[in-house]
Symmetry: C2
Subunit: 434 residues, 2 copies
């Protein structure tokens, strides 16, 4: 078997055998198949696709390119959640303690933000002392003790994806549904899960701008999960405007704590509850989404979910007092308000523009090696459907560096559309299962 033969097959629209795919991924991970060969292969995959069977094997081969977690020692059902990424999308942070408080174990391994979308790791690391860099022993011990753990990806987990993602990024093959699906699913399935809930974002602030592509991506990932024997459910949720009112890092931790107190913004709470309820059902803790919702409401009302979040913050080296005292979190030194240029109803808040503005203030990173400023961000005061008066605040920018404000403002001034009243669209577009 040679790389050229396999590239030629895929180039000509033929189907690769399981053996061929496993050889390719293994040889690429080991450096036997070269970057330039894999670049040609991924372009052929981009243009000619992979069948469902090829994709299942491809994902499995990626997953087995490195260490795979063995969580047999965890007696609880293990379910995780993944989002394709959006602006203000801090759902994982309140969701994980809520679901864990109900008895599902969540071995969550997250990524960092890149471009206009934030990353769960960056948000968590705004908590003083909090580390997501956990070795295998500490990861398992926290998971065993608390039923949840919030970790970063170790280098030994799915090394093929690390290599392949960097290659795709520099060769124009990022937006390929089979390649995106296998990248996400190989990392999630390596967590040794019983179930997985996917939040596939749709809209201007999402990776998938249109519903049809998002649906294809969701179905593809659900298919991979099923082929692997891990029950997977995907939700299509709207990402035209930011989720919640906070876009930043420390500020999103504060908003997440509000959700855990039962006091979060309606849209953020809705998405969190829907995905959390699905996880309880997938974990076999509840028989229906209705009873799951009741159970989640209980752990919020009782304070159990918030208490658990405090415990895991402490277990991961963070200062748990941030729960009661947000002033312990990093805070930017300056504020600037964006005012409404006219009276009327908010018809849209462009999530991409807000995400880019937050990134330009330093809340996100444009390239992987940039550092994130945890205290900066944007607070929204008016979202779609709200009425505003001319001169009323639309958003507050929190910043540390005056030189960065102008670019952010230029983006934000175009972000709000104000005009006639409208009925906001449904946040949860669809549920897709196997």
């Amino acid at each position: 078997m040679t790389a050229v033969e396999l590239i030629e097959k895929k180039r000509d629209g033929d189907t690769l055998t399981a053996n061929e795919i496993r050889w390719l991924i293994d040889a690429y991970t080991k450096g036997v198949v070269k970057d330039y060969q894999m670049a040609a292969m991924t372009m052929a995959v981009f243009l000619n696709g992979l069948t469902a069977e090829e994709l299942a094997v491809w994902t499995d081969a990626m997953m087995h390119s490195g260490d795979v977690l063995d969580l047999d020692m965890i007696a609880k059902p293990k379910v995780d959640k993944h989002s394709t990424g959006g602006v203000g999308d801090k759902v994982s942070i309140p969701l994980v303690p809520m679901v864990a408080a109900c008895g599902v174990a969540i071995p969550m391994i997250s990524g960092r933000g890149l471009g206009h979308t934030g990353g769960t790791l960056d948000k968590l690391e705004s908590i003083p002392g909090f580390t997501t860099n956990l070795d295998r022993e500490r990861f398992t011990s926290i998971l065993e003790q608390y039923g949840l753990v919030l970790a970063g990806q170790s280098k030994s987990l799915v090394p093929a994806d690390r290599k392949l993602y960097a290659l795709r990024d520099s060769t124009g093959t990022v937006p390929s549904i089979p390649l995106i699906s296998s990248s996400i699913m190989s990392k999630k399935l390596a967590e040794d899960l019983d179930g997985l809930v996917l939040d596939v974002k749709v809209g201007i602030g999402a990776f998938m701008k249109d519903e049809a592509s998002a649906r294809t991506l969701a179905k593809t990932m659900v298919g991979i999960g099923s082929a692997h024997g891990t029950t997977t459910v995907a939700y299509l949720t709207r990402m035209d405007e930011p989720l919640g009112l906070e876009v930043g890092n420390a500020s999103e931790i504060i908003e997440s704590i509000a959700v855990l107190r039962g006091d979060g913004p309606a849209d953020l709470t809705e998405v969190t509850m829907v995905l959390a309820a699905e996880m309880l059902v997938l974990g076999g803790i509840e028989g229906s989404l209705e009873t799951a919702n009741k159970r989640l409401a209980q752990v919020i009302a009782s304070g159990e979910a918030l208490e658990l979040f405090g415990q895991v913050i402490e277990a991961q080296g963070g200062n748990r007092d941030v729960i009661d005292d947000p002033s312990l979190l990093p805070k930017a030194s300056h504020r600037f308000e964006v005012k409404a240029p006219a009276s009327g109803y908010v018809r849209a808040v462009n999530a991409l523009a807000v995400g880019r503005a937050a990134m330009s203030l330093g809340a996100g990173r444009e390239t992987k090696d940039q550092k994130v400023d945890p205290g900066v961000g944007i607070t929204l005061h008016a979202k779609t459907g709200d009425s505003v008066e001319q001169g009323a605040p639309l958003a507050t920018l929190a910043f540390n560096d005056h030189d960065r404000v102008e670019a952010a403002l230029a983006l934000l001034r175009e972000a709000w559309e104000i005009g006639e009243a409208l009925t906001p669209q449904e946040l949860i577009i669809d549920r897709i299962d196997g």
Copy 2:
């Protein structure tokens, strides 16, 4: 401009601008655009193609990636010939002195053989002392003095093609008509020509197995030549069986000398004469193919063509006595005859099988770093249309290494098809001009 942006454009079926293509080729030659990026780009080109305008610029950019010959000091018209490669295809060797003897200058730069097809350089280098490694000064001086020169490609000529061809070879993007065309034409157009004749081989022993692909390749190359302002004519010629009776290196020199004496095999002589006549017309030496043929017959009959070949052999360091004494050429130490298994008419001699058999004896190379054995080869005794008796010789193998004979024999035994009489097909399939 970034490589990723250009890859994405071609990936999505868009057209690249002239500036974009020139930047890409230049940046790739300099190593700014990486091999893995060019691999993704060439796969996108393979699958999505290049327009005629893109291809003209691509070829021109390749050509200008290194030195371009300036042959203004040559008063004669400059015309060259290129073949896409076949088995037993030694046409260039008798053709060049014939055409040069008529007053056309030929600055021929050739390649080495790879796979089942031989290379002009390898054949010429079987002449003791002959070198094709000529510096610029020697190249020009031989061309000025004799009106012909037979050189190998210097490293400074079209370096983009050297890099790109190696990359394509290891990434499954060799058989792409735009990429093949630009590779061939960039090298030929860098020779500062007034005209170019292309021999596009069609058939089992050729790179293009079917007439339709060969026709597309021919038209594409003629189009590139016209766009560049170099009148280009292509012939489609049949390559189902080897051309002539000799497949090897030294043996093909002997057969080439026979053509120059007016004593060559009919098929080899026919192709040589047709292409040579076209070159005289393109060079403005003769007004029609008919008068060109007469002029060529004269320089053969007078011995001028053969004499000129002797002179250029000497000028390039070779022993010109080989012309009169073939025993001065390398010769293999052993012979083996393949006999006809049955009586009847030869219906086919599989050129690919014969080419591979010759390669396996050492006449060709499978990989670039292999050395060629100049004395080994195969002599055919029966070609398509000939009648044979059972037990009569079909071919003689000349070899040095007994270990290599078995593989060659296995290929050769399947090469002849013997049965009912048939009328051989026309050798010259078509002529394509701008």
